[in-house]
Symmetry: C2
Subunit: 535 residues, 2 copies
């Protein structure tokens, strides 16, 4: 449904009914120049059709945590489903690479992704370092052209989904989480991506209208300080009538009604001393807003939420507690059932730490509006996803550097224990048998020979599924709706052992390789690594 809505918004795509990327700027030119210069060098060497396998993975969980949520898959699939260089794009490339032969540009014009296979972990899954989020196989020149767009679509999406999930974990399930970050996001697409992936990671709504339209995310908002300060006083309110919500009767002077109630509240014994001065321009603004939205009034107090208030400055723990007391006192004094439970929203530069601190102090906040720190991932502004060649023409490749890549086309499984928690992820060679329920299996740390453990899985899930079958006859996984992905994400988070998920000193989740893959990695490693000479 989300895909359908976006298709309607963007124009349907050409690729097997898969719509185009949500952002029209995501085209085959949205890549690093070196992908095209390499493609030329491959073509020139006659190697462009060599069958290559690349892993897309990250090396370290963000935000000091021990988990990540995978986001961005749908956009990658939309990208390759519609991959085709236009004539004007080819013309630009010719001008950018003037020494390249004509035949190369003819080849580029002919490229689509019908001979590319993409295997991926479902979007919204909890994922861990080193295990490929995606395995991409196809002609080496084509796969290189996919590298930068895929990384650009996955890196930030996964980072901000993870950030949102972390905010959900600290806020608890009962709170309303609102994403308010558009104005501080890194460019307009940063803002739209943030709204989408924060929802996927567990937020309830966004302030971003365009994201609401594109993805069907609930949208929320009331008014800002500017609205409050645009009123000079109660005389600014011309039309003072207010019909009851069923239309059965009408209040002719709502402003007077407000003033009368204000006087009654000030005089009420249990509330005496709570009130001092009332700023009449603020009162005018709130009254006016109530006239416009009688059924969904929310006032910004420093600014005020259906009915309720929004606290946007000061000591939010203290103010929320005092506000709650006041609401309860009004409920008691005047017998307004439910008034004491009225909504208290808090905003103002919130992040994981401040919510954690509010929890420790005690607060009465029902909803958190979170912007800058959430959408820019202020605590860590990038996730270092990489895209590494692991096999070419069936020959395994390894990259030796500070971070050694794991060679070979692989299969990846998650093994679950007796209590239902995931115990370990394991990577095996492509042709090894899958781990079996009830059968003891040796799981080895990929690089540390002393770290290994036997596991008897109670349940086994293969992690990567086929999202783009290319030249194979495998069935293609459907792209689920954003709400399905969000539910799955919440479900995955619930299934994790709590000590992997806690904020303070979380336990690392184990990622392993099979004994056979371990031996092969180390054989290749020794083979490739030069023997040093001490001088």
């Amino acid at each position: 449904m989300a895909a359908a809505a976006a298709a309607a918004a963007n124009g349907a795509g050409g690729g097997g009914g898969v719509p185009r990327p949500t952002n029209p700027m995501v085209t085959p030119l949205l890549t690093d120049l070196y992908q095209f210069t390499m493609a030329y060098a491959y073509w020139k060497a006659g190697k462009h059709l060599d069958r290559a396998v690349f892993d897309l993975y990250f090396r370290k969980n963000p935000f000091g945590g021990e988990f990540t949520i995978f986001g961005g898959l749908e956009e990658c699939i939309r990208f390759i489903a519609n991959f085709k260089l236009t004539d004007t794009e080819i013309t630009f490339l010719r001008s950018a690479m003037p020494t390249c032969e004509d035949g190369f540009f003819e080849y580029l014009s002919s490229i689509d992704c019908s001979d590319v296979e993409v295997y991926a972990i479902p979007e919204g899954s909890v994922v861990f370092p080193k295990v490929p989020l995606m395995i991409i196989e196809g002609p080496v020149a084509v796969i290189q052209l996919l590298e930068t767009p895929f990384l650009s679509l996955v890196n930030y999406a996964s980072l901000v989904t993870t950030n949102a999930a972390r905010h959900r974990l600290v806020a608890g399930k009962s709170k309303n989480l609102l994403e308010f970050g558009l104005r501080r996001a890194q460019g307009p697409d940063g803002g739209i991506s943030a709204s989408r992936y924060c929802y996927m990671g567990g937020f309830d709504a966004t302030s971003n209208v365009a994201a609401g339209r594109l993805f069907g995310i609930p949208i929320r908002g009331t008014h800002s300080h500017a609205f409050v300060s645009s009123f000079m006083g109660l005389d600014d309110i011309i039309d003072r009538t207010l019909a009851s919500s069923d239309g059965s009767n009408k209040c002719e002077d709502f402003v007077s009604l407000v003033q009368n109630w204000l006087a009654r509240i000030k005089d009420a014994g249990s509330l005496r001393g709570t009130f001092r001065e009332t700023n009449l321009s603020e009162l005018a603004a709130f009254t006016s807003y109530a006239l416009a939205f009688p059924n969904s009034f929310l006032a910004l107090v420093d600014t005020y939420d259906a009915a309720g208030i929004r606290l946007d400055s000061g000591d939010l723990a203290y103010l929320s507690v005092e506000t709650r007391k006041f609401f309860r006192a009004i409920e008691e004094e005047f017998g307004f059932i439910g008034f004491g439970k009225m909504n208290i929203t808090a905003s103002n530069d919130l992040n994981e730490e401040t919510i954690d601190a509010l929890n420790k102090q005690g607060h009465e906040v029902d909803a958190f509006g979170i912007g800058t720190y959430l959408v820019t991932c202020y605590a860590q502004a990038a996730l270092g996803c990489v895209f590494k060649l692991v096999e070419i023409n069936k020959q395994p490749r390894i990259k030796l550097s500070e971070d050694v890549s794991i060679p070979c086309k692989k299969r990846c499984y998650r093994l679950f224990g007796k209590e239902g928690y995931p115990l370990v992820d394991i990577m095996t060679g492509e042709d090894e048998p899958a781990p079996k329920v009830g059968e003891r299996l040796l799981c080895r740390h990929p690089f540390n020979e002393s770290k290994r453990a036997y596991v008897v899985p109670q349940h086994v899930e293969e992690l990567l599924k086929c999202y783009w079958p290319g030249t194979t006859s495998e069935p293609r996984e459907e792209l689920p709706s954003i709400n399905e992905i969000r539910s799955r994400c919440m479900g995955y988070l619930d299934r994790m052992r709590p000590d992997h998920m806690r904020r303070l000193n979380p336990t690392p989740y184990k990622v392993s390789v099979s004994a056979k893959l371990y031996d092969f990695i180390h054989f290749l490693w020794l083979n490739e690594a030069p023997v040093g000479e001490l001088q």
Copy 2:
């Protein structure tokens, strides 16, 4: 020219020949819902046409520095020049705000920005906290609809331009600065914006092909590790012929030529001991790349740049020095004039600090490729631009909070001293006379009564110009090309007093108000602020 190119790419816009926003996702719905709910409340109160003035400004310079570069203006002007809600957008808004009256949606359909005025500091200028970057005047309901898009277009643009300028300052003018951040940027538009604004802030080129096409920015790139490891050995190279660049003769076996030279270099007396093993698959990859790009060879060594090398890991200071020595030895040994000066590019997680550290250690790097830390503004991922109401229906408005806004529609000037440096920015009321060259003037800190100074300016520049005249007859400033903005930015940076610009303990630049505006602010402040009661 940049605007023309982008217009060609995006389709010309409707607004007085101003093209549409570069990113097609930038539409009137790219805003916070509360802008629409407020617009409704204004409309409902009959206040929607009230003439309002808003300032867009920031409160603190980013990255621990004392200056900021203003970016994003052209996109704001493109946005308002083409501002019009489509019928499908109105339909969506009706569904999102089901309790609002029909008349309001008719009003929304009718809105354009012909009655809006935008004054702004030229894009690429050095700017300071509190001084409005933009002053926006028009019907209050319309201006509120502009708030979020303007902030979204200015916040990240200014932040990343400033980050790029800071990298240029630390790297020095003679180095080549290459932006390689697309894959780690916050969404595809984050990547495209980063490439554009990093160029504006002083970078020389980008790896981002789409940004090259959209803005005419020079693009650069060679090859990655994957290219190197895709070769098994020299047998992979089929076509071994290489014609000389003038086509006059042809080398039949370039591979053998490379091997012969390798042997000669290994044997050369002055180079003995420098070489150990040669990895033949790497040699094959480099040879192959050289065959594809004989005139612009750059090798990635951990990977190798026309001609030259790229260092992507290890101790870059040491490796660059050793590489330079080696190049020089080859120049001397074989008499290849200029070989010693061959290009050394460094990449691998560089940022301001690492370049500063390399400078201190001493290095031989000619070009820096900078990605993640640059484009995500890792050191500070957001600039807190705000949009505040300062006047409505000619009545000044002030917002009291931790940061008091400066009320009134203002004029802003930069005053220059004898040595040509800017001394202070001053804000005055709209109707005050402009500061005059040679006339003594009192400049006051807006909030601190003891901070004030007399200045006799040698040169006066009015900071904000009219970029969208709306209902006035003022001439409209043209939108300059990206290269003009970049040159202006470099020029402005050169004119600043060096102590404002240094990395360590920079001197804050002074921002002031006129004596008359000071008195008025404090009159309003006392009037608005409630007198506390201690209990």
